[in-house]
Amino acid sequence: MRYTIPLVVLIALIGLFFFGMQHDPRLLPSPLIGKAAPAFDLPTLDGTPQRMSQADLQGAPVLVNFFASWCAGCQEEHPYLMQLTRNSQVKLVGIDYKDAEADLRPWLNHKGNPYGQILTDLEGRAGIDWGVYGVPETFVLDAKGTIIYKQVGPMTPEVWEHDIQPLLKATS
């Protein structure tokens, strides 16, 4: 009887791992969800207007995408972001995180610019306030400027269709 104990333990562990793999350990709930977007005041890339703050994000739902020219995940989601802004009415604001303008401009020229507006957070100060711990991260804000969703990692069609679109429909 006692010789079967190891086997029983193994079966329990395998079960645990099987269910564990269905979970993505990186899905961390953001404490910001349901709260107003953190305050910021950042320069824009094209200079019109010169600076923007959280108040400028209100009025319509908006996606705030933290990205950088040096980040691999951002390259991965870039084509989809291009497609998304081409095919839908959603407003996309990019916040260029810990990057250099000299690197960013060629990156945009080469790959295209999906963003309605790009703000530069070259030192990552706004990123800290928003709780960004790795780019890309995308926040969904409703018309009142409240954060209703956070996507860690590249934006995908599944996330957009299954999670974000229904949320946006429900709030409008």
Binding site: Y3, T4, P6, L7, L10, I11, L13, I14, L16, F17, F18, F19, G20, M21, H23, P25, R26, L28, P29, A68, S69, W70, C71, A72, D103
Partner: protein
């Protein structure tokens, strides 16, 4: 062409491994010596195939063939040659190829050295190793081929993760894998013993050197990993209880227990089924480690990019290999009858306690590693288990182990004698108690509870181990003859136990008296730490082969004398846009001075992190002692003599039949 050849070689290796798994089993069923002896040739053929595949991948890296996806991901035209060679195992696919290469290398070694074993035993061992290889080849071919082409080929590679561009890391994974994979040999011996039902002193004697060798590589791999993390991660820590570190530590604990229980099984014929279970466990924990690192089921700084199909395959593979082994165990182990009784106060009794504490320690690490996952799956909460848990649990479990280690060489097999034990351990105990009080004051000028405890445990382990050799040498009229008369196995055990003591001195020293400081220094400004004066001289640009660096110059003075000039760097690797701190260390046996560079400020000042790390080298020195202890123990001549004697016996027996 070369990548396709490599891919083909892996397929070929899979075919040979399958034959190696099946044919000897048939031979055993039919008692056919020709089929049994096929196992050895298959093992050698398999090694040739996989070595060719590995050479192909290395060739692609050296020639920067970016049309291969894995090369494009991990190579770069400006990467120095040495890192282009080590980049082969820089990520999942290539490290898996290294894993199977090493597995095949162990198999080859078994086929060469086990010629002296009974044919059916060695053939069954090779068959089990063939099954394990088959699983890994399938894993590579189905989910993780490093030879997949990328169309169109990029002009430039994505580069090896800069954090891996370090000599320490270049040899850390191969050492670690030698250990992990080496436990597969003990595993195969255990399965062969369960199948044949032949589990005796000879079986334990065959298994011991293989296990000790694997253990010694694992020890070295973990030691190197700790040294690398200290040097490269810039936090000044040497162990983080990270899930991936735990994944290497669990098999180490189980392997350490196995080494000790094998001794009992060989000398006394006891604990047979327990020893077999440990052999299964040590390799299972190695597999578990691989699964945890590669499935993405846990979050860790080390984790490879994860992919659900890989996780699923690994899980299924683990279920088959470990589940199969444990089913066989549940069925056959009750029939392994142990004769003789076990006295608690005897060497075997004490080793049983040693095993108990080591296995509980492994279970505690497993629990800490998996608890966050359990709570997450049950939807209770997200949490991580940190150093406070492990440190407390370990201190409790390790204290009795230190008490036991001193008794190891003194208490004889079968039945110990309290009075004799006390007589022989009186001197080491007195020395340890004196040093417990004196040592922290002598080395650091003050003491703490932890420092005193560490000195007591460390000196107890060291002097109790040394007295055994001392007594053996004294027994001879002349000391040189005495030294020669000490068997290598005894030297090995002594060195490993001394290593444990040295490790304890290092840990308690650095934890009790280590100091650190975050400072912001303008040019020419100074700060003081641990009696050393750090003057920040300047910072400037420095170009490396594939990075540019901000390099600070820090002068270290002690008692008015300049003792070191340190150059901590902040490196920018443009290929990945990664910034890495490269700490600068003035290393010494008794203390390390460690500076890493933080952020620069507009006024030209820099933030610096300064560490004073007394005795941290003792931690790795302990690991090195254990490594050489394992080396000596595994090369003891009685294994060779015993083999020769067994072969003669077999030849005589075969001659008698013929």
């Amino acid at each position: 062409m070369i990548p396709e050849l490599g891919h083909f070689a892996v397929i070929l290796a899979l075919g040979v491994a399958l034959l190696q798994a099946i044919v000897p089993l048939l031979g055993w069923r039919r008692r056919d010596a020709r089929l049994l002896s096929f196992a050895g040739s298959a093992a050698q053929g398999q090694f040739l195939c996989i070595a060719a595949a590995y050479a192909c991948l290395t060739y692609c890296f050296v020639t920067k063939d970016f049309s291969v996806a894995y090369v494009a991901e991990n190579d770069h035209s400006q990467l120095p040659l040495i890192y282009r060679i080590t980049a082969v195992w820089g990520a999942h696919e290539g490290s898996l190829l290294l894993w199977v290469l090493i597995l095949s290398g162990w198999t080859l070694a078994v086929s060469v050295f086990n010629r002296r074993l009974p044919l059916d035993m060695s053939a069954l061992v090779l068959s089990v190793l063939g099954m394990v290889s088959t699983g890994f080849y399938l894993f590579i071919l189905l989910t993780s081929s490093p030879f997949t082409r990328l169309v169109p080929a990029p002009a430039e590679g994505h580069d090896l993760n800069p954090i891996l561009q370090d000599p320490g890391l270049a040899i850390h994974p191969p050492m670690l894998y030698m250990g992990y994979v080496g436990f597969s040999v003990a595993f195969a011996f255990a399965i062969a013993a369960l199948i044949t039902g032949r589990l005796d002193a000879a079986w334990a004697r065959w298994t011991r050197p293989w296990t000790t060798t694997a253990w010694m590589f694992l020890t070295m791999g973990i030691t190197l990993g700790s040294w690398w993390a200290y040097k490269e991660l810039g936090w000044g820590g040497w162990w983080f209880w990270d899930p991936v570190e735990n994944a290497s530590f669990m098999p180490w604990l189980a392997g350490t227990a196995l080494i000790h229980s094998l001794a009992v099984t060989e000398k006394r014929g006891l604990l047979k089924s327990w020893t077999v279970l440990l052999a299964i466990l040590a390799f299972s924990l190695s597999l578990l480690g691989t699964f945890l690192v590669r499935s993405g089921v846990l979050v860790s700084v080390h984790a490879f990019a994860s992919d659900p199909s890989r996780g699923t395959f690994m899980l299924a593979f683990m279920a088959v290999v470990v589940g199969g082994a444990l089913t066989l165990f549940a069925w056959r182990a009750p029939k392994l009858i142990t004769t003789g009784e076990l006295q608690l106060f005897s060497r075997e009794g004490l080793l049983l306690f040693n095993n108990l504490f080591l296995v509980i320690a492994a279970a505690a690490v497993l629990a800490g590693t998996l608890l966050p996952l359990v709570l997450d799956v049950l939807g209770i909460t997200k949490l991580s288990v940190g150093p406070p848990y492990y440190n407390v649990v370990f201190l409790i479990l390790i204290a009795p182990l230190f008490l036991l280690v001193g008794l190891a060489a003194v208490v004889p097999w079968k039945r110990g004698d309290w009075r004799e034990t006390a007589r022989r351990l009186k001197v080491p105990a007195i020395i340890a108690v004196i040093l417990m009080v004196v040592l922290p004051f002598a080395l650091h000028g003050r003491t703490t509870l932890l420092a005193a405890t560490g000195a007591l445990f460390g000196c107890w382990a060291i002097f109790a181990a040394a007295q055994d050799v001392w007594r053996r040498v004294r027994a001879k009229p002349e000391w040189r003859a005495g030294l020669r008369a000490v068997p290598r196995a005894v030297w090995g055990m002594t060195l490993a136990h001394i290593g444990l003591g040295i490790w304890a001195l290092g840990v308690s020293g650095v934890v009790s008296f280590g100091d650190e400081k975050d400072v912001r220094l303008a040019r020419g400004a100074e700060t003081e730490l641990g009696g050393y004066n750090f003057r920040f001289q300047e910072a400037g640009e420095q170009a490396g082969p594939n990075y540019t660096a901000q390099q600070g110059t820090v002068l270290v003075e002690h008692g008015g004398k300049l003792i070191a000039t340190l150059h901590p760097q902040k490196r920018l690797y443009p290929s990945q846009g990664t910034v890495l701190t490269e700490s600068s260390i003035d290393a010494g046996l008794m203390r390390d001075l460690y500076v890493s560079l933080g952020e620069s400020y507009d006024d030209g000042s820099w933030s610096l992190r300064v560490y004073y790390k007394p005795m941290i080298r003792f931690i790795w020195l302990g690991g090195i002692f254990m490594f050489f202890g394992g080396l000596l123990a595994a090369s003891d001549r009685r294994y060779r003599l015993a083999r020769a004697a067994e072969r003669r016996a077999i030849e005589i027996a075969e001659g008698a039949v013929a």
